[in-house]
């Protein structure tokens, strides 16, 4: 028996969500009294692969010739490595959600996504977010093997250094999709993984006014996000739209500026630990969901907030 974790990389690097998945896999392996095999796709240098052992991965298998978006090849190679694995752990990313369901069919394994808790025993039973975070579902697996995709920032990154063995596989099969290139906004912090998210809504009135939002986000090392109407009218890119029909946020701190707090918006952000609302309208529904609030004009409050943050950062 073992626990297998897919260690997703981005341009040769792992991110926090990967280390979180490995930490989760390690904790599960303790409960099942076994060890962790980490599988990495695409080219990743040994030095980077080694980092996985800091979170409990003792066997690391690197498969440099498989593109992670090639879900046919990726699911095949992971299935080939899964003979001994009873639990397979993924991060809940867009790419994982192409690989994991395929793998689920190949292995006849339940695939449970959005998971926020660890199982207590080898009969797998976990909590997951459902109804756009308006509910938590406790679900159990009926199958011998189970695939678990964990929601970002749900478990945390826990260091546990172990000795590791790195193996490079020459698997090079390809599926029928061809890749013609990528465009990535380099340096940007991913909204779904960010610890702090600074988000603004229609209350900002004009796309020109986002300078102060970006400045505040930069100071806090935060990702920027927006409400749906703001991306619909093109003030901000679609990729920043958060809420029930946009990206899900589960940050330590979510700052909502000029956002009314409609139910669809809150559904996607209320898994955040601490929420702050800044709004001119004391009746804005966001104040019912927030932990801290300021009733005031963003154009006065945000510049002051920037000054105060600068003070503590220096």
């Amino acid at each position: 028996m073992s626990v297998l974790v897919y260690a997703e990389s981005w341009n040769g690097r792992f991110r926090k969500s990967t280390f979180e998945a490995v930490s989760y896999a390690y904790r599960t392996s303790e409960i099942l009294e076994t060890d962790v095999i980490a599988v990495s796709l695409e080219e990743v240098l040994d030095e980077e692969l080694n980092k996985l052992s800091a979170y409990g991965a003792s066997n690391i298998i690197s498969i440099p010739n498989v593109n992670k978006g090639d879900n046919q090849a990726a699911s095949k190679v992971i299935a080939d490595l899964s003979d001994s694995a009873n639990v397979l752990v993924f991060s809940n990313t867009l790419t994982s959600k192409m690989i994991a369901p395929r793998l689920s069919i190949k292995l006849n394994a339940a695939c449970i996504t959005n998971v926020i808790s660890i199982t207590e025993s080898d009969s797998i039973c976990v909590s997951r977010k459902s109804f756009s975070s308006k509910a938590i579902e406790v679900t159990e697996s009926n199958t011998e093997k189970t695939i678990i995709c964990i929601a970002p920032n749900s478990f945390g990154v826990i260091e546990h250094a172990v000795d590791c063995n790195i193996e490079i596989s020459d698997f090079s099969e390809k599926g029928s999709i061809s890749f013609k290139g990528q465009e990535t906004a380099s340096g940007k912090i991913s909204i779904s993984e960010a610890e702090i998210v600074v988000s603004a809504g229609r209350g900002l009135k004009d796309p020109e006014n986002w300078g102060m939002i970006e400045e505040l986000a930069d100071l806090l090392g935060a990702a920027t996000a927006c409400s749906k109407p703001v991306s619909d009218i093109g003030w901000r890119p679609h990729s920043e739209h958060v809420g029930q029909t946009g990206k899900a946020v589960a940050a330590d701190l979510y700052i909502a500026i000029g956002i009314s707090g409609a139910i669809q918006h809150l559904a996607g952000v209320n898994s955040s630990k601490v929420m702050v609302a800044i709004n001119t309208d004391p009746e804005a529904p966001f104040f019912k969901a927030a932990d801290y609030g300021i009733v005031g004009d963003a154009f006065e409050v945000i510049p002051k907030l920037i000054e105060e943050i600068k003070k503590i950062k220096n």
């Binding site: 996504t113 406790v138 601490v274 702050v276």
Partner: protein, 248 residues
């Protein structure tokens, strides 16, 4: 072109969610059901393809009779046929098995599902269908151009986008961007009249295997009261975030 759109019927996004039977079942009392928002983008895209290249659009829903009003709405928007698999969709694997079986018996060039259903939030049904049928799968599509058998797709990736080319038949996961919000179709009077005479076929499920069981539902803990800070005292907010909440 023969297109299948997988439609899940979900509670309206403004719904307050409750559970019954000792918190084991969703309480649909007083809930308005709608086309899953992600599937709406896919349905509109299917209509556009049909209008530009010809063909027909079938929609399929796995669910009991209560999903039929939502299926009628897709017919009113312009789908040609509707198929309901007569079974409550309580598990992704069984849902995917039924849809895949229908696809196997009826040839489709293009299968469109949503990126995720806004009730179950699994995001796995389309990938499972793809694997059962051995089809290529591209999720979170934000652009698609079809030229003969050749499909050019753009998919969202974490922090950017990826350009892809692939041949039909395929299955894709749709979301905003595949068509714009402003292009979404709503039923008009003529569509509603026509939808009444369009075929809605009910078929029986072929399998009863489940991969998962729901034990119970809970609601997240209610938040405490919001601490309000005076707009002239922004430093206090920073103090609270730093020393009380310890998040900065």
């Amino acid at each position: 072109m023969n297109i299948l759109v997988c439609i899940s019927s979900v509670p309206d996004t403004t719904s307050k969610i409750n559970f019954t039977d000792n918190n084991t079942k969703f309480d649909s009392n007083g809930i308005q059901f709608v086309i899953n928002p992600y599937d709406e983008f896919g349905l509109t895209k299917a209509m556009m393809i049909k209008e530009s290249t010809g063909g027909k659009v079938t929609i399929i829903t796995v669910g009991n009779a209560t999903v039929e009003p939502v299926m009628r709405k897709t017919l009113a928007i312009g789908a040609d046929y509707a198929v309901r698999v007569n079974m409550s969709a309580i598990d992704s694997f069984s849902t995917a098995t039924e849809i895949a079986n229908y696809i196997q018996e009826n040839n489709f060039d293009l299968i469109i599902a949503g990126r995720e259903s806004s009730d179950y939030n699994g995001g796995v049904v389309p990938g499972m269908i793809a694997e059962i049928l051995g089809l290529p799968f591209v999720n979170a599509c934000i652009d698609m151009e079809i030229d003969g058998d050749d499909v050019k797709l753009i998919r969202e990736i974490d922090g950017g986008k990826e350009m892809i080319s692939v041949n039909l038949p395929i299955i894709i996961g749709s979301q905003k961007g595949l068509v714009e919000e402003s292009e979404l179709r709503i039923p008009n009077m003529r569509g509603i009249m026509q939808s009444r005479s369009k075929p809605l076929t009910v078929i029986e499920p072929i399998s009863t295997m489940l991969h998962t069981n729901t034990i119970s539902f809970d609601k997240p803990e209610e938040k405490g009261i919001c601490k309000l800070v005076d707009a002239d005292n922004v430093s206090e907010l920073v103090n609270l975030l730093q020393n009380e909440a310890k998040v900065i």
